[in-house]
Symmetry: C2
Amino acid sequence: MLSEKMVEIGRKRSAIRELFEYGKARAAEIGAENVFDFSIGNPSVPAPKEVAETIAELLLSRDSLALHGYTSAQGDMGVRKSIADSLNRRYGADFDMDEIYMTCGAAAGLSICLNAVCVPGDEVLLLAPFFPEYKVFAEKAGAVVRAVPPLGDMSPDMEAMAELISEKTKAVIINSPNNPTGAIYSRGCLSAVAELLSARQREYGHAIYIISDEPYRELVYGERKPCFIPGLYGNTFICYSFSKSLSMPGERIGYIAVPRSMEDSRTAYAAVCGAGRALGYVCAPSLFQYVAAACCDLSPDLQAYIRNRELLCTGLRELGFEFVEPDGAFYLFLKSPEEDAEAFCMRARKHELLLVPSDSFGVGGYARVSYCVSAETITRSMSAFAALAGEYGLGG
Amino acid sequence: MLSEKMVEIGRKRSAIRELFEYGKARAAEIGAENVFDFSIGNPSVPAPKEVAETIAELLLSRDSLALHGYTSAQGDMGVRKSIADSLNRRYGADFDMDEIYMTCGAAAGLSICLNAVCVPGDEVLLLAPFFPEYKVFAEKAGAVVRAVPPLGDMSPDMEAMAELISEKTKAVIINSPNNPTGAIYSRGCLSAVAELLSARQREYGHAIYIISDEPYRELVYGERKPCFIPGLYGNTFICYSFSKSLSMPGERIGYIAVPRSMEDSRTAYAAVCGAGRALGYVCAPSLFQYVAAACCDLSPDLQAYIRNRELLCTGLRELGFEFVEPDGAFYLFLKSPEEDAEAFCMRARKHELLLVPSDSFGVGGYARVSYCVSAETITRSMSAFAALAGEYGLGG
């Protein structure tokens, strides 16, 4: 007599978590140094020192009741102002603090936005490959999920998208830099998406929202920078998290931005407040609201990720593997030398390489390699990758 | 094309929040010292010094990646063990860490439990007077809410409850010490509830859950102590928050306990995990998980609340007001001298006394007085209460 759906979601670990748990068990068996665990997207670069300094300073300077007390449901006013100012400075945006709503991380932000816009029977489009939890959040909000297949370069197939959008479509989730590919969608690609959605909004006479999941926005290594999507398409919610940029994923702090460019933006902001309230969020954790405000201009120390990306790309290329060129985040999307990605990942596992098969991300034939590990792990894993390549007769 | 329901919930502030905002505006107008704001349940006693000490020590002793990293979804293993041990020590319970699930406060806990057990069309019973957000959380989980009216002493009318329970009833929310009355339900009362629910479970052939919301469990001032409800009734979820006991409501940290005594308790625990995941909770804030574990045996400094309760009860009694004797929490439920509680509270407002009319708590004819304020505020408010009493010809 429990909710069968919730039991199922609680019992069935994600493929990522499953592999991560296997990795921990395997490490206990044969030693952590002998397991090459590329399963999970946990930052490997410590939080900037300013995080600890800010906490220490807040403990000294602020009254306990103010520091640990409830903030208003949408977040402390000063915090929202700092974040709006930082966005305006860095992205040439024009946010006001009343367009910012503080959340318990991006997952909460996504769940809140989906519940704010969806009613049962609505449809939500995901661009494959996509982070598997999107489906869980969207379905809990009462929506039916449709996956847009990718082209060969992992950008969305616009023709397929045009066919999948219908009068029932309420939102499209976009994630750039992308998990699992590390790719940044080009401006051209996003403009095409914006154009298609704009046309359909007019045709159907109702809004179709982009929900832009941007936890990796600051983890960018090459020439390409992520687009500021509200600049292309007004009806865009931004869901941000400080999990990756400040390396504090456990602290659950982020925000939703509801730009004025959105149709009925104050009503949309009210819907966000309503969904946050109804789901039990009350307010985002107060101490870390203040930490986020103080540290929101900081960039993470990207050198370690840049070095890892270089080591991994060079090594895998030399071994004859193919992959999507990663622009950001800390993921590399490796083409499986055989069609069945699960079989490939099982074979990799025999060499103690833990890779996530792409099937749960909504496409077949790839494996996600999370390179938020030590450089040494990557270097030492190369002989295992070489043996794996050998099994498929890659490289030469 | 947004969710109308979420827009409505986002726009319509709770009566409590509404009054609190009025109080802030009024304070700006005539000076904070001239407004007697008894509207909100925000702790007025600072967090125990051990909270700041623990944070400082964690910053020094723990690696940043471990301190701020994801914990497992159900909470850090060591944290759950500490909390289970503390419950066992203090309540003679027998919890194992696998029965504890860390949450972003009690509101998240309630929302998660309701979503874990309810499917659309189920009914949830609330015992009036009740905290108004219960209705918001239960309805969002797809349930229909039924309110059990109270007897004159504000304990539940068991006959009415027997009539309201039906085959659709999935859960009953119990809150003792109670918000808004401050009353603790007697063992006799809870035994009667347990007996009634047990009989109906047998009759209908399915579980009916008690969801026990216990944020005020440690804020108890008299002889009466709250019952350990799983000892009376197996199918009980406990939702706890450290908001009041450690005076850190903004930090959003608490837990759900799913006792082994529950039918299919592992399945129920899985449903809790599933609902937490589907609602976007990921994990409870990591640093404050460790703080809660280190401080979970601490009692708040109750002296200030005890003194406030004494001052308020004595003062109001002398003026001829009637009220429910408060056993705990920091609320006093004042009988309105006229039938219309809203009219009474408007009249009180003319004397700068901000009291919450009882209507949104599901009963008429009372006003909630939150005495988590300075003792000075209470002392100084007495002339305003005297003038108000005078208008009704109380006391003589």
